[in-house]
């Protein structure tokens, strides 16, 4: 892989340009523009996830709800909607649901199921019924027939009351008494000389006469009392007769009208039962249709066309349509997406009106939720939004478990409601719920909610990337062409498509794959489309894609530029030329939002005799993370197992990321740290034109790391800013060669021999490139060849051990300090 040079100062050749960037050649795609391509269904490489979606959509079992996991921009939503809609078209339309008044217990409205499209018909029919009766019933009650019967009832009752009163009045007169009125009621008194008897006259009467008067008056009082006590009973009888008359009159017109409705809805037994309840209620509450009849004459519209059903007194006969599937153009089960899956939006709510400072409600104020709309079909929810809404997740689980939609407000759940509310009939629920989220959320739900696994038995796990085969390349090209057509973008040349595919490879962080983050690629195409149109072209070309990538990088690169500026102005010390012992350019990746860039860091190592301690300064000051500390401890293991095996490890070394103030995590710099240590121990200088990335194990093998492209480009940018000398480059793990998809300018520099990328497998390979000195392999005699780097390191470690032994011996000869006198 690496071509060795005869000149010890000369650098190896490094990877060829073709290895640094695996570009797709436009001519390989087999078309000249996207106009030549057939459309695709927009989703490739997700067979596993699609199988899960299809299974969830078609299986009958109630708990096979689906969790769709994957990263943002993978096309999860569109894929889910696409396949659910396909399946929904094969399923029958869902039923309509309405809430109607429960005349027996109004706070528990009744839910009625109707065939698709019948809910609105029932509502209109009831409105017409009310309007018609509001016109007809008053006319009926104004008729001579009614008035005559009503007067007859009144007269009968009046006569019944007047007859005993008249007889009593006659008797009072005959028995020489008088009926007097007081503010409290009636009094009876004996009459003497045509006038009520006076107390003084009464006192002068003989006792016998007084007794006779008293008895007579008392008897009359009793009779009057009996007559007056009959009044309430007479009133009750009268009221009953009037009500019977009203019912009898109303029934004639109401029954005819309601029967017509019953005939229309005879297929639905629940509706027929409801209409019977309506009929009985209308008959027994006929006076509702008689109120304020005259007021409607004054408006601009005639009474006959007045919409009576809009008046609050007739709300009791309203039909509250919760969900209706009456659209004749749609013949499929519903597929509903709820963007705000709060408790109310999910299960519906009961609204209130403020009347005289009090909150009141009725069944017409019940509002449907997404579960109502999706009943009989599919409901698609964003898992994160759902879990962020208080009690929404709990309510959804409750509905799925009970297979019914019960409307319970948040205030009622928390027992905070202090106003009247409703307990609507739960509506049977048959809905397939699809949650869309990320893998971490799925893992948390599985771990933390024992019910999740029961209710969501299926997982559709979206792949992040797609193998870069010839077939997949063409499929991806079709997806890109389809997206361009769907989004009304310019036609794309094959070069532009190839550029998008190259970017897909770079985003996949793997030269053998394409990313499936179609959303990100779509954004790139939209921006390129803008540039193409701005240039007055109707075709999107490769340069438009390149410009879009470049400008997107430029917009996001403020911090990267400031950091590079600090290096170039030597505020941050990074050498890109010369040779320094114990100093290596390490590489790290910084991520800001969705943008990542590489940045070099100076790693230095200092050594001296000691007790085998390797000090990681980052760790000591708690700027190093656990993975970084692990990497440093591996170095210690490598050193102690590789060098001076017959003497104690007598090294005291310190390692530090110079000018690092924000913490270090990851082990990708562990090889660089080891190189710095070896350089410090051997005293050989490390070429500062080179930078290093890669982790190392205890056997000295270099292991793959992430962000290799950004790291190489980060160092390249620094070198380029200072002038590319041809002696600059980056050492990367050989395992990362497949991840290379470098920027064209880096590739161009490599092709010109101005910058190199060296894949290395072992520490020995790397240190040879960095120092120009052979590493040397241990011979049979147990020694490294003289003059090799490993020999120098081992000798230095032996020196440390020897020095330490001498120091220890001298200490023993001098005895303990405390014994001195």
């Amino acid at each position: 892989m690496i071509q060795k040079s005869q000149d010890p100062d000369a650098l190896p050749e490094g990877l060829t340009a073709s290895k640094l960037r695996s570009e797709i050649q436009p001519q390989e795609l087999g078309f000249s523009t996207t106009a030549d391509l057939k459309t695709s269904d927009g989703l490739i490489g997700q067979d596993r996830a699609i199988e899960a979606i299809r299974l969830s959509a078609s299986i009958g079992d109630k708990d096979f709800n689906l969790f769709v996991a994957g990263r943002e921009g993978m096309g999860r939503h569109s894929a889910v909607l696409h396949y659910l809609s396909q399946q929904a078209a094969r399923r029958p339309k869902s039923n309509d649901w309405v809430y109607v008044n429960n005349f027996e217990t109004p706070h528990k409205p009744n839910a009625l199921r109707l065939p698709p499209g019948q809910a609105v018909a029932l509502k209109r029919a009831m409105q017409n019924l009310v309007d018609d009766l509001a016109n007809e019933v008053p006319t009926l009650f104004e008729s001579d027939e009614y008035q005559t019967q009503r007067r007859a009832i009144e007269e009968e009752a009046g006569e019944k009351q007047e007859a005993p009163l008249a007889a009593f009045a006659k008797q009072v007169k005959e028995e020489n008494a008088a009926l007097l009125k007081t503010p409290m009621g009636f009094m009876l008194a004996a009459v003497i000389d045509g006038k009520p008897i006076k107390p003084d006259v009464y006192e002068k009467l003989e006792p016998e006469e007084r007794r006779e008067i008293d008895e007579r008056i008392e008897r009359l009082q009793g009779q009057l009392s009996d007559i007056l006590k009959e009044v309430p009973q007479l009133e009750k009888e009268h009221r009953q007769k009037v009500e019977d008359l009203h019912a009898q009159m109303a029934e004639r017109v109401v029954s005819v009208r309601v029967q017509a409705l019953m005939d229309d809805f005879s297929d639905t037994a629940d509706v027929v039962a409801y209409l019977e309840a309506v009929r009985q209620d209308m008959i027994s509450n006929a006076e509702l249709f008689l109120e304020d009849g005259e007021q409607n004459e004054t408006g601009p519209f005639r009474k006959a066309i007045h919409k009576y059903h809009r008046e609050p007194r007739f709300y009791r006969y309203d039909v509250n349509v919760m969900v209706s599937h009456g659209d004749p153009e749609t013949d499929a089960a519903p597929v509903i997406t709820e963007d705000k899956p709060s408790l109310n939006q999910l299960t519906g709510r009961v609204e209130h009106l403020s009347q005289m400072g009090t909150l009141v409600t009725n069944f017409t104020l019940i509002k449907p939720g997404a579960l109502h709309r999706a009943n009989g079909g599919y409901l698609v929810l964003d898992a994160r939004r759902l879990l962020a809404e208080p009690y929404a997740w709990d309510a959804l689980k409750r509905c799925l478990q009970s297979q019914s939609i019960a409307i319970v407000s948040l205030a009622d759940r928390l027992s905070l409601g202090s106003t009247i509310s409703l307990e609507p009939d739960p509506i049977p629920c048959n809905v397939r719920v699809v949650l869309i989220g990320d893998r971490r959320l799925h893992m948390l739900l599985v771990q933390l909610d024992p019910e999740f696994g029961t209710l969501f038995k299926l997982l559709a796990d979206f792949e992040d990337d797609l193998p870069r085969t010839v077939k997949n390349t063409r499929s991806m090209a079709s997806v890109i062409a389809d997206f361009a057509a769907r989004e009304d973008l310019c036609t794309m040349t094959a070069g532009a498509v190839a550029a998008v595919l190259d970017q897909a490879t770079r985003l996949a962080d793997d030269a053998r794959k394409f990313t499936l983050q179609l959303g990100v690629l779509g954004d790139l195409m939209r921006e390129a489309n803008h540039y193409a149109k701005a240039a007055g072209r109707s075709v999107m070309e490769q340069k438009d894609i390149a410009r879009a990538i470049d400008r997107a990088d430029h917009r996001a690169a403020r911090i990267k530029d400031r950091m590079q500026e600090a290096v170039i102005r030597k505020t941050v010390l990074i050498d890109t030329s010369g040779s320094v012992a114990g100093q290596v350019n390490g590489l790290s990746v910084i991520g800001i939002g969705t943008y990542r860039f590489g940045r070099p860091s100076r790693i230095t190592a200092r050594t001296r005799m000691g007790a085998g301690k390797l000090v990681d300064i980052e760790r000591e000051v708690e700027l190093g993370g656990p993975l970084h500390s692990k990497g440093v401890l591996i170095l210690s293991g490598y050193l102690s197992a590789t060098y001076a095996l017959d003497v104690p490890m007598s090294l005291q070394a310190s390692l530090v990321f110079e000018q690092s103030y924000g913490g270090v995590e990851g082990d990708s710099a562990s090889s660089a740290e080891l190189y710095a240590l070896l350089s410090a121990l051997s005293g050989l200088g490390v070429r500062q034109g080179l930078a290093v990335t890669g982790s190392v194990n205890q056997h000295g093998e270099i292991q793959a790391i992430g962000g290799v492209n950004e790291k190489i480009e980060g160092f390249f940018d620094i070198c380029k800013a200072r002038r590319l000398t041809g002696r600059q480059g980056v050492l990367i793990p050989a395992a990362n060669v497949d991840n290379l998809m470098l920027r064209p300018d880096v590739v161009e520099a490599a092709r010109a021999g101005k910058f190199r990328v060296f894949p290395v497998r072992t520490i020995d390979q790397g240190i040879e490139i960095l120092t120009g000195c052979p590493a040397g392999k241990r011979r049979r005699n147990g020694l490294f060849p003289e003059g090799t780097l490993n020999a120098l390191v081992e000798n230095r470690l032996r020196e440390f051990a020897q020095t330490q032994k001498l120091f220890a011996d001298a200490g023993r000869e001098n005895g303990p300090a405390g014994d001195r006198t």
């Binding site: 007859a163 007097l180 503010p183 009094m187 009464y202 309430p232």
Partner: protein, 255 residues
């Protein structure tokens, strides 16, 4: 109001308690609706009633037939004061929205005598009688035996229409001053006023309308019998014709 009823009437409501006045005022309100000028209230504190209250073992029977102890003189005084305030307040409440002049007076005596004595300045006097039951009764018009200006029938018809009641005409004697065939009402013929009053006693009436200036009621005794037998408000027209004429030098109230 239909033609023939004079506009800007002065209506006096006489009653011996607020309970009696309430029903009379309901009638007065109907009559006064469009064409009254002045509404007056007269609460007559009946001396006979006060005296009877002082009888030993006397009891009161409430409108619902319950026995109550009769009020003491001081309680009676308090009750009448309360009734007076309520009566006056109700008069004001009715008169104010209709922009009517109103007045209220309280006198001692017997209701018919006192009211007829006061009737000189009023076109219509309505005697109150508390409602014993809620059943809608008839409007009974006592047909004048002498030719009149049609005011009585107009008023009776208006009341019957407003109260949604049947109008019954009580006629005394064979002579008729009204063309019965032109009217839509029941007519009953009696030989004497006493017979008419006896029939009235058995009739469920909502209001009785009578014109004292045109007969057949000619005496206070007949009027008293009419009011007792009606057991409902009695609307009296021409009451001023019974007020004794005074010398032209005497003016009430003094100027």
């Amino acid at each position: 109001m239909t033609a023939g009823v004079a506009s800007k009437l002065r209506i006096l409501v006489g009653a011996s308690s607020f309970a009696d006045a309430t029903t009379a005022l309901r009638i007065a309100q109907r009559v006064a609706q469009d064409f009254a000028q002045c509404l007056g209230g007269l609460l007559v504190d009946d001396e006979n009633t006060r005296v009877v209250c002082e009888l030993p073992n006397q009891r009161v029977i409430s409108a619902r037939g319950a026995f109550l102890l009769s009020p003491s003189p001081s309680q009676m005084h308090t009750l009448m004061n309360a009734d007076a305030r309520a009566f006056e307040h109700l008069i004001e409440k009715i008169a104010h929205p209709a922009a009517l002049d109103w007045s209220f007076d309280r006198q001692m005596g017997e209701l018919i005598d006192t009211a007829m004595r006061t009737a000189g300045g009023w076109d219509v006097v309505i005697f109150g009688y508390r409602s014993i039951h809620p059943f809608t009764g008839k409007i009974v018009a006592i047909e004048p035996t002498l030719p009149d200006d049609g005011k009585l029938m107009d008023l009776s018809r208006q009341l019957a229409g407003q109260l949604n009641s049947n109008l019954v005409l009580f006629r005394v004697g064979a002579e008729t001053a009204i063309d019965l065939h032109a009217q839509h009402h029941t007519s009953l013929v009696f030989d004497s006023p006493e017979e008419a009053i006896a029939a009235l006693d058995r009739t469920n009436a909502q209001a009785v309308v009578v014109d004292l200036s045109c007969g057949p009621i000619h005496s206070k005794a007949q009027l008293k019998s009419l009011v007792d037998a009606s057991r409902c408000p009695v609307v009296v027209l021409g009451a001023s014709s019974w007020v004794p004429k005074v010398e032209h030098t005497t003016h009430f109230p003094p100027v």
